[in-house]
Point group: C2
Chain length 140, copies 2
Amino acid sequence: MELNDFLPYQLSVLSLKISKGIAEHYQDQFGINISQWRVLVILYKNPDITAKRIAQLSQMDKVRISRTLKSLVQKKYLNETTHPLDARAKNYELNERGRYLMRAVIPDALRYEEELLKKLSEQERADLQHLLTKFNKILE
Amino acid sequence: MELNDFLPYQLSVLSLKISKGIAEHYQDQFGINISQWRVLVILYKNPDITAKRIAQLSQMDKVRISRTLKSLVQKKYLNETTHPLDARAKNYELNERGRYLMRAVIPDALRYEEELLKKLSEQERADLQHLLTKFNKILE
DNA sequence: TATTTTTTGTTTCAAATGAAACTAAATGTC
DNA sequence: GACATTTAGTTTCATTTGAAACAAAAAATA
């Protein structure tokens, strides 16, 4: 058995390589880590949502989300308001500073992705998307 | 921008899902974690090698390898001998207990992989392998 | 040969992680 | 309404992680 051929291993190495590249880049350019980046994107698309909803959308651990939100509030990228119908929960949304950050980060992220994808043919890109969708189905 | 469509994100989620499944399984069935499993496979294919060589083959961090080897020696799966030509290094190899473990684990790993792959068509499997190879080339 | 530089591997330390316990509020049940 | 259960989010704690500093040996250079 070759470890190098073992699918889970290959995927792990690939994903780590790509994530590491992004992580360093975002840390350097914008001072945000992967967790913060993920939560920011979700808030960009979903204004005024709770930590619970972010957990559903991101599949991240709730402890991690709690801490990430706290850090983003401290960095003054988010407004935090108590949920009108549930006193346990808080609503979060990007403030002007947060939106400003995202207007800088998103094109950068898309460029990074494009940089990766442009090295694939049209056919390969289609295959990749098909496989990712299929795996998501397979793994529930 | 949809986070869900973002390639690095998709890959990360997929890889974590698959790795988590394996990790739990190996921990339960054999009491070994992912790091230990990777090092064991490498030693299975490459008897009598040093930590440095394992680092090259696995792409894992050297601190992690150092600790993993220590734990595997403690669990009595490996023989550790001082390198004949380099007093800084040690050679590692599976001992009988280690080989016995691997004879149990490897079929199990292959079954897990097969379980995943059999849900793909012949074409999809080929596409997957092609893409993984291609990505490896792209990312050096 | 002596001295500097590089290499191999380990240890230290601080940060990240997540399971489990917890608080507080909402919901369900009687 | 009173009590039990569930839910949202936080804190605690023990573990994992890897960067940086380190020790010891090998290799390079003088």
